[in-house]
Symmetry: C2
Subunit: 214 residues, 2 copies
């Protein structure tokens, strides 16, 4: 019974996600679904990404949070369109929420939408929102055991961003083991080590975005 209900919800979501994907394709807008734990650094990464790319690429952001517009306020300062979705306690964004947000954007004037999902390594991985690619941010302060403990999100993501790499010396994170686990789980996954403090890896990440759009 519980399974049936879940199947119906996911089936309905997948239909809306496919519609979203068609709409984005028609409008030539590339969509990244950015996921990760609370505090992994998704919003900081977004802020720096916008600063680096906004002269070349027309970007908008859809911000997912349970409550507050704190993240949207941070993005707004960079003068790009941003829509805040509050899930009112819900643990992930779904395709219908992203559709409603997309309808408030002028898609004809955009090349890229980055959807920042709710901070959560579990639920967002299960819901297609109509994106072209999923990307996951893992802060090295979270520990190198996370890929094997939360495998779905790393299997679903085209890219893993290993963030806060500048504080690696103050942690016991084993980079080699994390790379091994990630490539075992998801052969061919792109891994980018970044720091939003010293800027390491941000050019790699921005180049990956530019190449993906073209």
């Amino acid at each position: 019974m519980k399974v049936e209900v879940m199947k119906n919800i996911l089936g309905e979501n997948d239909k809306i996600a496919d519609d979203n994907r068609k709409l984005f394709k028609d409008k030539k807008v590339f969509v990244i679904n950015l996921m990760g734990s609370p505090g992994s650094g998704k919003t900081s990464l977004l802020e720096l990404t916008i600063a680096k790319l906004k002269d070349e690429i027309k970007i908008a952001v859809i911000e997912g949070d349970l409550f507050t517009a704190k993240d949207a306020e941070r993005i707004e300062r960079h003068n790009v369109p941003v829509i805040q979705i509050n899930t009112a306690g819900g643990c992930h964004l779904d395709a219908a929420m992203v559709r409603r947000a997309a309808e408030s954007l002028n898609l004809d004037e955009l090349n890229l939408i980055i959807v920042e999902n709710v901070g959560n390594l579990v639920c967002p991985a299960e819901f297609d929102v109509g994106e072209n690619v999923k990307a996951v941010v893992l802060s090295i302060t979270e520990g190198d055991d996370k890929p094997l403990k939360y495998p779905l999100i790393f299997k679903e993501s085209a890219v893993t961003i290993l963030n806060k790499i500048d504080i690696l010396p103050f942690t016991n994170f084993n980079l080699e083991s994390a790379h091994e686990d990630l490539t075992t789980l998801h052969p061919g996954i792109k891994i980018i080590e970044t720091s939003c403090t010293n800027g390491k890896g941000l050019d790699d990440w921005c180049n990956w975005i530019k190449n993906s759009i073209c």
Copy 2:
């Protein structure tokens, strides 16, 4: 319709949680539901808590993870009973899972069970598992904005453990603002600053546990 289904699931869960609570009370076992983001340091805190308390208090651990028995293996080295629950992708523990795990423990020989929930700041807060108290671990690397962004889990928890306090100088975490937000959300909440690296605050946390059991 979706709401009705959720109500039924929660109603059923609450009944089992109440039964669990009665069982634990009969057996004089105190139960802590320990929650927090992936990588906030729940398992490290547990390992040090067991090392400090196990000569005075008979402790068992119920470990919740999507997959793997990595955390249970870490706990097992401390020679206390440990039961691993794998949710197979599920984002939280529920009361029935904890009931089945408790049935594998000899409750007559225990004073304390610590349930380490799935790493997630959202879903675990919604499900009573029959605990006496909830506690949430927030790593200071996650940022001081998390209490207002994920309010339910901080409202539900009797204690917030601000962990990894030793790396505070390498972050932009504002301690004062975190304390303010936590006490605004949940007046009277106990806040303990800890480091599993240098041991700061662990005596406070262990004393809080001892006083709660008595």
